[in-house]
Subunit: 366 residues, 2 copies
């Protein structure tokens, strides 16, 4: 067991349609390419890779993304070997993504243990993040598929929850069940109880064990991935991937596998985690003035409260002024070719704008 | 009386600080330079001059403006002789402006009759406008200082009113009194009564008669203007103007003279007049979609009502998209170096933003 750490791998899920953070995010510049909430110029995916180096070196970090994002992803991550970038020919949700990535790792290393994380989440307290990842990997190495449950800091309705069961000897807890995004009252109840954690979507497992679980829970998916894997062993992966992957069932790993496992461990995490899910979340994360406005210092705000103002345009860099009078709870987002104005709590409706763009002659803003 | 029309002059008041329509208007690009509500590229001041040609030729149209606006005003009005542009060294409200312009005309033509109008008002029904101006000039020529009262089309609280008295034989009415901007209930009452008209701020008079009235009502102003006029007759106007004009009492012609006259006539006007006083007014004037939005055709509006969207930026001309979700009654105004977002009914507070610009490092946006 002493050499275990050398079998550690990470798979970073870096898909994303680029709609939630429109107009900052685009099809060719999805959320993980942005520096949202990082307070530096570091893209979220770069921060994710940097944080993972503590667990494994870059040549054992794999990045799963869409084919159209392969080149720009590689460009952002020069330390990741090109063959570690797994380009999906079509988005099929997390189960096919994780199955393919896991099979790819397993081909290299039959003893591999994998940490699966998202490219577009934040972890503010990096030492705590490292310790939690290490803990989860150790639980996984000992033979239990493991997730991280974030200790809730508020009655959030935007996340799924994990109900915890008995404590384990290794410091983790058993997962009692997964809970869908709750309403406000239920969220309040769950957080009060102390038994519920936020579902981070991070998973830790021995690669062979996960392939077995997928084979039991999603046999058709396992079959398809096996065909791709066999083709890969013959050096013919590209053809098989293009032929098979787009036909795989589009299903999440949570729903397709994790919720069906009889035994799943959860490690409690408390490291300033957020999935930065929307402009609303970004406002929550950002520094505010006394009136709750998160805005550039050069903005002129008269009688305004709790607004999010972001100017990502080149005119903004040249000193363009954004002036707001008498508005509250708005998000105002400027880019070079788009302006978005909406109440912050309508963040989930940004997709309607994105959907309407082609009909209005704005295909170039997708 | 047959040669009267040849003594007709017009004075166009074209001052303006450029604050109300910020960020479209600026100190060096005040409202009358914009094409607001004209539905063409014609600047409001150009439209005003064009409409006045019916009353008198360009060489008898004078334009009073600020010294900093002399050159751009002359450029917009190539048919107006340069000596007809009266450049005030400091803004002193309408009484000094009208007194100086009137003295200047009187020096040229002792029998002059003058129409005073604003450079930044609209008149949609031009034949009706011409007929009304002609009527007012005829009343003025017969010896009564005259104004135009606009027949109200709604209970507007943003305008002053004129209460009418007895009808005159010449088709005009006597002015009973001026009424300040009313509250909504009083405005409703006044409009219902049929006796009240909107104060257009247009005046018509024999030049000599007006100088006499100013001499009676504002003797200090009359004295100052006489000094400037005498210097002008000696070809030394510039020096006297710079020395005397900035010290003249800053007072409106309404308050300083018109309200004190024992006899003032008003001609009823109904020609689609508006002073385009604010972004709010511009929304009222603009064509709307079914949900009351006045926005470019390329804007993407999701669940929006009664908004004004204007993109005057060069990015807008290149196809920048403005997307609004779930907002109502907002004004969203884009220019190359500024964005303004506010409820339409806060239009009067734009001046607070303009006042704050220098402190925020935005002197260049004044």
């Amino acid at each position: 067991m002493l050499d275990m750490p050398s079998h550690r791998y990470a798979v970073i899920m870096a898909g994303g349609a680029g709609t939630r953070f429109w107009p900052a995010s685009r099809r060719m510049r999805p959320k993980q390419f942005l520096a949202l909430g990082t307070r530096t110029e570091e893209a979220m995916i770069q921060a994710t890779v940097r944080r993972l180096r503590h667990a494994c070196p870059p040549d054992r970090i794999l990045v799963a993304t869409g084919q159209h994002l392969r080149a720009p992803t590689a460009e952002l991550l020069p330390d990741i070997p090109p063959e570690n970038i797994l380009a999906e020919p079509a988005p099929r949700n997390t189960a096919p993504c994780i199955a393919w990535a896991t099979a790819s790792v397993l081909r290299r290393d039959p003893d591999a243990v994998i940490a699966v994380l998202s490219a577009d989440h934040l972890a503010e307290d990096e030492p705590a993040f490292h310790a939690t990842i290490d803990h989860a990997l150790r639980v996984a190495e000992s033979g239990t598929i493991t997730t991280i449950g974030i200790v809730p800091t508020r009655a959030e309705t935007g996340y799924g929850y994990i109900e915890t069961g008995e404590a384990r000897a290794d410091g983790a807890l058993n997962v009692a069940r997964f809970v869908e995004k709750p309403d406000a009252a239920r969220a309040e109840q769950m957080v009060q109880s102390g038994r519920f954690l936020w579902n981070s979507g991070f998973f830790f497992y021995r690669a062979a064990q996960m392939m077995e679980a997928i084979g039991q829970c999603l046999p058709a998916l396992a079959h398809g991935i096996r065909q791709i894997d066999e083709a890969a062993a013959r050096g013919e992966e590209a053809e098989a991937l293009g032929r098979i992957f787009p036909g795989l069932e589009s299903i999440s790993i949570d729903y397709g596998v994790m919720e069906k496992l009889s035994k799943l461990a959860v490690v409690r995490g408390s490291f300033g985690w957020t999935d930065v899910g929307s402009w609303q979340t970004l406002w929550e994360l950002s520094p505010h003035d006394d009136a709750g406005n998160a805005a550039p210092a050069t903005a002129v705000l008269v009688d305004c409260k709790d607004n999010l103002v972001a100017d990502l345009s080149s005119a903004g860099k040249r000193g363009k002024v954004i002036a707001l009078i008498g508005v509250q709870d708005l998000a105002v987002i400027e880019t070079d070719d788009a302006l978005l104005v909406m109440p912050r709590n309508r963040s989930q409706d940004v997709r309607h704008v994105v959907a309407a763009l082609p009909n209005q002659g704005h295909e170039d803003k997708l």
